[in-house]
């Protein structure tokens, strides 16, 4: 009886086209106001960092010229955020440093997620001895204190911009690989993966068509956190005096220099850049949270 009634209902009802999955995800993402605000902040800041130094250039690299500017000058009409101990304009320097911090952070984060995803998928999908060996290697890598490793490598090989990107990118993927490996391990045993294999699909095909698409939620989420981590690690290195090579600078290096001067009461050399930097990391984490929700299957309508 109920079956008949149901059938009637279906027949008599006008069929509603399903909402595309991307729209559902976008809707979930847009419902997160903090994530929207974070996106706006990151985009505006990134635009400012990449454009302001060119639209309204301030001297940030020529120390000889900077000698003519007052050092440690308090905020004023001519220098809204004051000047630092070398006479560089602080506001301009935040954008100038941000260009390097964001570029290095995003590039290193990209390398991290790319290598981690590839490694984790191969390990998880192949399983067995290969998986065991690859995971034990990860265990070995993870046993090395990360900052210590970064410091050692940078001390030995220098700290050019390219090397900083590579060293942070190529040493930061170990945790990501574990997460993605877990996905791959699960997905390769699911029915659709087994069906594909039984129909003669190659391993690479299964990874590409089934494992990767179904791991995308974790990959995207991990990617955002990787970018935030890369910015943090770059800043940590800068704070330890091992950041980007002068006359370039990054937020961590600015903080390191500013902290010294904070003790002399020159607060403007620390707080503005610290606030900008902290908000970026927090914003990227909010975006990551929202993306995780957006890609969460259980929140999607069926």
């Amino acid at each position: 009886m109920s079956i008949v009634a149901d059938n009637r209902g279906l027949v008599g009802q006008e069929e509603t086209p399903p909402v595309p999955m991307w729209r559902q995800r976008l809707k979930i993402f847009m419902a997160n106001k903090l994530a929207i605000a974070s996106c706006v902040y990151v985009i505006v800041l990134a635009l400012a960092c990449y454009l302001v130094p060119h639209i309204h250039p301030t001297n940030q690299t020529n120390q000889a010229l900077a000698f003519g500017t007052p050092e440690n000058a308090a905020p004023s009409g001519s220098h809204w955020f004051g000047t630092d101990s070398n006479g560089f304009d602080e506001l301009g320097r935040i954008f100038f440093a941000g260009e390097y911090s964001l570029t290095l952070g995003f590039l290193a984060g990209f390398i991290t997620i790319f290598v981690g995803t590839l490694y984790g998928m191969i390990s998880g999908f192949l399983g067995g001895v290969v998986d065991a060996v690859m995971m034990r290697m990860i265990d070995a890598f993870l046993s090395i204190p990360y900052i210590f490793l970064l410091i050692s490598l940078i001390t030995i090989f220098g700290r050019s911009t390219a090397f900083l990107i590579l060293v942070i990118g190529l040493t930061g993927w170990w945790g990501n690989a574990r997460i993605i490996r877990g996905d791959a391990l699960l997905i390769r045993h699911l029915d659709y993966a087994n069906a594909s294999t039984s129909m003669g699909a190659s391993k690479w095909h299964v990874i590409r068509r089934h494992v990767f698409p179904n791991s995308i939620s974790n990959i995207v989420t991990v990617a955002t956190f990787s970018v935030a981590d890369a910015i943090l690690f770059l800043s940590a290195l800068g704070f330890l005096g091992l950041g980007i090579q002068t006359p370039q600078t990054d937020w961590g290096t600015m903080l390191q220099a500013g902290t010294e001067q904070l003790q002399n009461g020159f607060w403007w050399e620390v707080f503005p850049v610290a606030i900008v930097f902290i908000l970026v990391v927090v914003a990227i984490n909010y975006i990551g949270d929202a993306l995780r929700d957006a890609f969460e299957v259980r929140l999607l309508e069926r």
Binding site: Q63, G87, T246, Q256, E260, Q263, N264
Partner: protein, 605 residues
């Protein structure tokens, strides 16, 4: 002749810590006179890494010698105490030398001090050093081919407490005493060995004999390896050779060292504190943090942290507010020149560096006055030759700097010699070796590109180098810059120790302290093939000017002027130091030491 790091005078000071009054870290010792601990900050990234007092140029640093080895191993002639750079007979192991035979014979007599193992510091101890110098001359820091010890020595004999050195030709007693005899550190028979168990016959061997040379080479091989092995620093073997006021009891891989008084010290001034510690740091910021925390008694702050300039170079301004209640700031001058080393070897920029007009352009674009005032807050002073600014007028008359800061002149130096600045990059448009052409090895269209490396860890040094490089870039020069630790700048950057280096200009954050070549005639630095000629500079005029000063007490003015005009190095401001001394510490010889020699036995709480 020591490489000088940026720890200047202030670092040469020792202190007894407030721990004495706190009663926390005072070791239990007998006698009330030796109490407290002095904690001395080593230069950032410049910890001792060699203990054997027969050291090659790569270990010829203040950190290894005057601030480490000399606490334990006293030289034949000790120079520099407080503001005096002169020889100090009372704390030397030998009596003043006597010259005879038309300055061709030198007689040395020893005082008969004792090593820690009880052996007398006698003629054999000196012969040990002389025999080793004869066997492996190029492995000593101040070796100058053809000059002094050993190349000018025809024979040397030792008996009892007397050593007699016969020379092939007359020498200037001033130069020979200050630059040759002063390098000698008497060494004990306990070091005359080729392994932990195998003894040798280098000390007692006949000077110049083939058997002695073989023995000494083998001994050197062993001691050189042991001397660079940090874990061996506190071995009994090294301790047995102690004849100075301090004994090393601890040394770790980071470079932290602990000394205690040597109770067998024969000299007049015994240590007055129970412990002297040298503390390692990787950056000046870290060291400043330790100062703020009261963990250091003698240290240094970077000028960049100071909020007011020195009233004039050599005078102390207001101390850093964070330290002023606990520490006194000191400054001064040391007997040194300050330079950036130029590589004339196989480095890619060598063809440019070899051109005098390029060196002139580089020097003319160093705004020393502004750098001294703004980067170093007036705790620095411009330099322009290889002679220390405090060289007595009798030895070198003052003269004007030949290449004062002038960017127009610098640009003209390049454009008049075949270079054209186009679009911010200067390239050679007139290759060749004729007048007005770029010079040998420089091809048409080649950009003037230089690789520059300097030491890390010093904000004021960074500011200085960034200012210099900014002006070089303003001339159109392409500069690839990098930073490394003090030791790495010396080992990896200089063409003397790294012939395949790709760096063209190296700045380790200091210059050259004239010790133990106390007479600044410069032969170990600028003579062709000398042991500390880091950039492989070679110029026949320079060689002849140097040699002219060594046979008679010739005035150094001509040599000084040539170093100023020919630029074997680039001259930059001499950092006068901003040292911090805890207020409870007292010194009977003042806080300045022009030779940066560390003599904490003169300090007490």
């Amino acid at each position: 002749m020591f490489r000088k790091g940026k720890l200047r005078l202030a670092i040469t000071i020792g202190l007894v810590t407030a721990a004495g009054s706190l009663g926390l870290i005072v070791p239990t010792i007998s006698g009330a006179s030796q109490q407290g601990t002095i904690r001395f900050a080593e230069g950032a990234g410049a910890s001792p890494n060699y203990i054997f007092p027969y050291y090659s140029g790569q270990f010829c640093s203040v950190a290894n010698t005057t601030q480490f080895q000399m606490l334990m191993f006293r030289p034949l002639y000790f120079f520099g105490l407080g503001n005096s750079a002169a020889v100090q007979p009372k704390i030397s192991t030998g009596n003043p030398p006597k010259y005879s035979n038309g300055n061709k014979t030198v007689t040395l007599t020893m005082k008969g001090w004792k090593f820690a193992d009880g052996q007398t510091v006698n003629a054999e101890s000196v012969m040990f050093f002389l025999n080793m110098f004869k066997a492996v001359p190029t492995d000593f820091c101040t070796y100058s081919p053809g000059l002094g010890i050993p190349d000018q020595v025809s024979s040397a004999t030792g008996k009892g407490n007397t050593v007699t050195i016969h020379l092939k030709s007359p020498v200037s007693p001033l130069w020979f005493s200050d630059n040759e005899l002063a390098t000698i550190t008497p060494m004990p028979n306990a070091w005359d060995r080729t392994s932990a168990t195998q003894t040798a016959n280098c000390a007692a061997g006949k000077y110049g004999a083939a058997s002695t040379t073989v023995a000494c080479k083998n001994v050197y091989t062993y001691l050189n390896a042991q001397g660079a092995k940090l874990s061996s620093f506190t071995d009994k073997m090294w301790e047995s050779g102690t004849d100075g006021p301090w004994k090393l009891t601890k040394f770790d891989d980071l470079g932290n060292a602990t000394f205690v008084p040597n109770r067998a010290y024969s000299g007049p001034q015994k240590a007055q504190v129970a412990t002297f510690k040298e503390v390692a740091f990787t950056s000046e910021t870290a060291e400043e943090n330790a100062l703020q925390a009261g963990q250091i008694d003698v240290g240094v702050v970077d000028p960049s942290i100071l909020t007011s300039d020195a009233p004039s170079p050599g005078k102390v301004g207001a101390n850093w507010g964070q330290l002023s209640s606990r520490y006194n700031m000191v400054t001064g001058s040391d007997f040194a020149e300050n330079d950036m080393d130029l590589n004339f070897g196989k480095n890619p920029g060598s063809p440019f560096i070899n051109q005098l007009y390029v060196r002139q352009a580089l020097e003319s674009s160093i705004d020393q006055a502004t750098i001294a005032k703004d980067a170093f807050k007036n705790y620095a002073i411009p330099t322009y030759s290889a002679l220390p600014l405090s060289t007595p007028v009798a030895e070198s008359a003052p003269f004007a700097a030949p290449y004062p800061f002038n960017l127009a002149t610098a640009e003209s130096d390049l454009t008049k010699n075949g270079w054209t600045n186009s679009g911010g990059s200067i390239t050679c448009t007139s290759p060749g070796t004729g007048s007005g052409q770029c010079g040998a090895g420089i091809t048409s269209g080649e950009a003037l590109t230089l690789n520059v490396q300097w030491n890390s860890g010093s904000p004021s040094e960074d500011t200085e180098m960034n200012a210099i490089i900014a002006d070089w870039k303003g001339l159109g020069i392409t500069v690839n810059q990098s930073q490394a630790t003090f030791d790495n700048v010396i080992f990896n950057c200089t063409s003397l120790y790294n012939p395949t280096t790709t760096e063209d200009i190296c700045n380790w954050g200091g210059g050259w302290l004239y010790a133990p070549d106390y007479y600044p005639s410069g032969e170990p630095l600028n003579l062709t093939g000398a042991s500390s000629n880091y950039g492989n500079y070679s110029n026949p005029t320079m060689d002849s000017l140097i040699k002219a000063t060594l046979t008679t007490n010739t005035n150094l003015t001509a040599y000084a002027k040539f170093t100023a005009s020919n630029l074997p190095d680039l001259w930059d401001p001499l950092n006068l130091g901003t040292g911090e001394i805890v207020k409870t510490l007292h010194s009977s010889i003042g806080w300045n030491n022009v030779l940066l020699t560390l003599t904490p036995e003169y300090y007490r709480y």
